[in-house]
């Protein structure tokens, strides 16, 4: 791959990092332990589905890097290195991995028609954006907040319904994009 293709991918990476920031500006709900319900995980799922594993991961890394630099891009206007030491930072650090897995699956699953693409998107988001992120979050809660595995699991389960809705939203967006841009290769099949 010549340099130019990575140069052409740069705006797409920046675009989805920007989408994450924009989704964070929709008001969030804070639950105990400071774990937020936000729409930003939807951005993680979309990045994986639309860009694929490699570029989706880069988009998430760019976003987290911007947050680390102090830009208030997390929902609620949070930012800076401080957020990476909060009890919920396991979830945050799980986002890049979530985008990677989502993108991976999206590349493997069928995307011949808009319908099959959106079903694949739902599955990919549920495994990557939901399951992987929650696993990382639980690990984070146990390691950083010294909760027990049972406590952490219980806490994380409360978010699953909300996240399943986001998987559905992701599938709907993917469906519309598949219809509106028929030449778009999901899962990063050709970038």
């Amino acid at each position: 791959m010549n340099v130019n293709s990575s140069l052409r991918a740069t705006p797409l990476i920046a675009l989805f990092a920007a989408l994450l920031a924009v989704l964070g500006l929709i008001p969030k709900i804070d639950l105990p332990l400071g774990v937020p319900i936000t729409l930003q995980t939807l951005g993680v799922m979309l990045a994986g589905c639309m860009l694929g594993p490699k570029r989706g991961l880069q988009a998430l890394l760019l976003f987290l890097f911007a947050v680390a630099l102090g830009l208030p891009l997390l929902s609620g206007g949070r930012g800076g290195l401080g957020v990476f030491f909060a009890p919920s930072s396991g979830y945050l650090l799980g986002w890049p991995l979530g985008a990677l897995v989502t993108g991976w699956l999206m590349a493997l699953l069928p995307s011949r028609s808009p319908r099959s693409t959106s079903v694949s998107a739902f599955i990919a988001s549920a495994v990557g954006g939901l399951w992987v992120v929650h696993v990382c979050g639980v690990v984070g809660l146990v390691v950083l907040a010294k909760l027990t595995w049972e406590q952490a699991l219980l806490g994380t389960l409360t978010f699953v319904p909300g996240d399943l809705i986001k998987c559905g939203l992701c599938a709907m967006v993917v469906h519309t994009v598949a219809r509106g841009m028929p030449d778009w290769r999901f899962g990063g099949r050709t970038i």
Binding site: V3, N4, S6, L7, R8, A9, T10, P11, L12, I13, A14, L15, A17, A18, L19, A21, V22, D30, P32, L33, G34, L46, M50, L62, F63, F65, A66, L69, G70, L71, P72, G76, G77, R78, G79, G80, L81, G82, V83, F84, F85, A86, P87, S88, L144, A145, K146, L147, T148, Q151, L169, M172, V173, T176, V177, G180, M181, W184
Partner: protein
């Protein structure tokens, strides 16, 4: 879209970004290797004092560090209930001190300065073929796209309201994404032109 950087100058603003980042990294790592309250308690108090010493500059991040305090109180409460108060205290102290240091860094350092430090520290990696200079480009593009998104969302929302009388809400997410994807293609053209030659 602004940043958390505070325009109220404090003593910490004058300290070079690289030094602040280094201190945070070293102390933060060191704290994670100790479980002794005798070390954690004074360090947490010190960090709290340092943050408080920034005075008015902390107003911008009030929401941030208050939510951190609440989170740690909850952790304490949980462990107290489980009859393991020491465990809770240790983790709460550790989290508070590192998080507060992080907040102090964010409030007193321009993100462009941090970016410069990052580029300098990682420049040796350029020999391995990693494009470190691309990061600044991607960051800049991200900020531009955030502006662009908002403008576009507003226009799509206006068009929706005019036609249906209701705000567009999440319904606009898909058309917004499509338009932004097309936009990204044109930006890619610009980049190829300006940097690819």
């Amino acid at each position: 879209m602004g940043s958390l950087y505070s325009e109220h100058r404090t003593w910490l603003h004058g300290v070079p970004a690289g030094l602040k980042l280094l201190v945070l990294a070293l102390i933060g790592t060191a704290l994670f290797f100790t479980d002794r309250v005798a070390v954690l308690l004074p360090s947490t108090l010190l960090c709290g004092l340092m943050l408080a010493s920034l005075g008015r500059a902390t107003l911008g991040a009030a929401k941030l560090w208050v939510s951190l305090v609440i989170a740690c109180l909850l952790v304490l409460g949980f462990h107290a209930l489980m009859h393991q108060p020491m465990l809770g205290i240790v983790s709460a102290l550790r989290l508070l001190s590192t998080a507060w240091m992080g907040v102090a860094l964010t409030l007193t350092t321009r993100y462009t300065d941090l970016l410069d430090v990052f580029e300098r520290w990682l420049s040796p990696l350029a020999h391995l073929g990693i494009r470190v200079d691309r990061v600044a480009l991607q960051l800049a593009l991200m900020l531009r796209f955030i502006d662009h998104f908002f403008g576009l969302w507003q226009r799509l929302d206006d068009a929706h309201r005019v036609r249906t009388g209701r705000p567009g809400g999440l319904r606009l997410l898909a058309p917004l994404t499509i338009q932004m994807l097309r936009s990204a293609r044109r930006v890619a053209d610009t980049l190829e032109l300006r940097l690819g030659q």
